[in-house]
């Protein structure tokens, strides 16, 4: 049960980071914190029922989250290389 609370806290922290951190790198980091919380929630569910299915789901989830992180970081780097921008503050839609 403790880990259920830990998972909830991690989700709240990750969300807070994603919403308030302006730097892109830190947003990606916060997303991974958030992901850890979500997967832990699956773990709690699995542990309650002694059920391997949610564990399998988490493995799938971790792989997908890694792919997303890699993709996001490449985008961040390319954006930085081209424009030097480190945030996604609004400026491009009011052309």
């Amino acid at each position: 049960m403790i880990y259920g609370l830990v998972a909830s806290a991690l989700v709240a922290l990750g969300l807070y980071g994603l919403v308030t951190q302006p730097a892109l790198l830190r947003k990606v980091l916060a997303f991974n914190l958030l992901g850890g919380g979500v997967f832990l929630l699956f773990g709690v569910v699995a542990a309650r029922g002694g059920d391997p299915v949610p564990q399998a789901l988490v493995i799938t989830g971790i792989v997908v989250a890694f792919a997303a992180t890699a993709l996001a970081l490449v985008l961040v780097l390319r954006l930085f290389q081209i424009t030097g921008a480190a945030t996604i503050a609004e400026d491009e839609t009011r052309r």
């Binding site: 989700v11 990750g14 969300l15 994603l18 892109l24 947003k27 990606v28 997303f31 958030l34 992901g35 979500v38 929630l41 699956f42 709690v44 569910v45 309650r48 029922g49 059920d51 299915v53 949610p54 789901l57 799938t60 989830g61 997908v64 792919a67 997303a68 993709l71 996001a72 985008l75 961040v76 390319r78 954006l79 081209i82 424009t83 921008a85 996604i88 491009e92 839609t93 052309r95």
Partner: protein, 491 residues
Amino acid sequence: MEATPGGFLLVLILVAPVTGLLIGFAQGGRAAERIALWAAPLGVTMAMVLLAGVLHAQAPIVAFVGGWAPPLGLALRADGLAAAMLMTTAVIIAAITLFARADYTTLPGAPEARAPLAFWCFLLALWAALNAAFLGGDLFNLFVALEMLTFGALALACLDGRATQFKAELRYLLFALIGSVFYLLGTALLYGAYGTLDILLLSRTARSDAPTIVAASLMTVGLLGKMALFPLHLWLPAAHAGAPPAASALLSGLVVKASYVLLLRLWFWVMPAALLLAVAPILALLGAAAILFGSLVALRQARLKLLVAYSTVAQIGYLFLMFPLVAGSAAEVAERAWTGGALQAISHAFAKAAMFLAAGVIARGMGHDRIAGLHGAARVAPLSVLAFGLAGLSLMGIPPSGGFTAKWLLLQSALYAGQWWWALVIVAGGLLTGGYVFRVLSAAMRAPSPDFMPAAPVDARQERVALGLAIISVVLGLLPLAAFGLVLIGR
């Protein structure tokens, strides 16, 4: 529910584009292009056979993957809604394939280039992902499908490699990821509460308790974020307007619909009716705000592609008006509203794809997409302007178009259900849509200045593809309504 005959077709529809993508990626750009060209007619044929099968059986076609029945295994289900969406997808993808040949062809013997390889592979990839999203019968399987969709959409949208695209796509990716996480949280809670994620099994057991409520709100909001329903649309205009035309057509026309179908499955299958009744007015209210805000902002856009993108923001709103009209209404009214909502999704897919393709051709011919400077566009790209106008008719809801039938059904069910305020929104949205479509057309029809020169020649085949899609969006309105009874099968 048992597995039914014909289930292999579902697997094929899913696996064929995946296999094509894998082989195309391994063999390089020209192979990918040829695979996509072959896959287009094959896909349309498979979708047609499936549609005919569902119509013939008047019941969903179901497959259990690996022979494992839920809750242990995964089910694929093609009900009427799924069959209709698969058909729409197949036709639009085939059209985009034809359209894109002019832009992304690799000549024999030429070295492989980045954009063509990525385009053809991700066209197949998005197709596979869309099929998976429409057929999936398991909430986690659908999560994987949504992720495939996000990655594919992202890659297609920044195909031109411009800095503005990267920024727009980062906004999209990060927001979509929050959406995914919310959705995933919901599935964790649902699994904890019910021990299954199969949509049909859940629909028989779901309760109105705390885990279900939290799961429902998280999953709903996650999907709304992925659909860019107002006020969660921050990423859509720049992302859809910045992509190459063939990609924009796909993103605006189809990709957002996958989350929509999933949302329908969540609310009209999984969740108990009591919860739906509480949420439906809120969703419709957001939809109404999307219609009004999106259209007003579209009216003020200086750029053609941004205008079309904001029109998507607005048109997505219509999809949500059906929630309070289906929930808690008499069977006949609910059927009408359901048909209207589904038809709106389909006709918007065709109309918006046509519009983006046409806008792309116009922008290339004119060398820019500033609306104020479009004078002479009707001379440079006459069929594209015509396609834009026809698609605009469907978006406005002028008869005899698919958009008209959809809005008429929604309007009628709103009045039947005694919720006339939604009818006002529908009509006001139509007026505003008329306003922004007219802005574009009147500029495009004006004679250019005498020294005007087109920036680039226009490909007549691309124009015809855009026109063809626009015509489909109009002709949908000429079909007898009974044809749309399809989307009621398995509801």
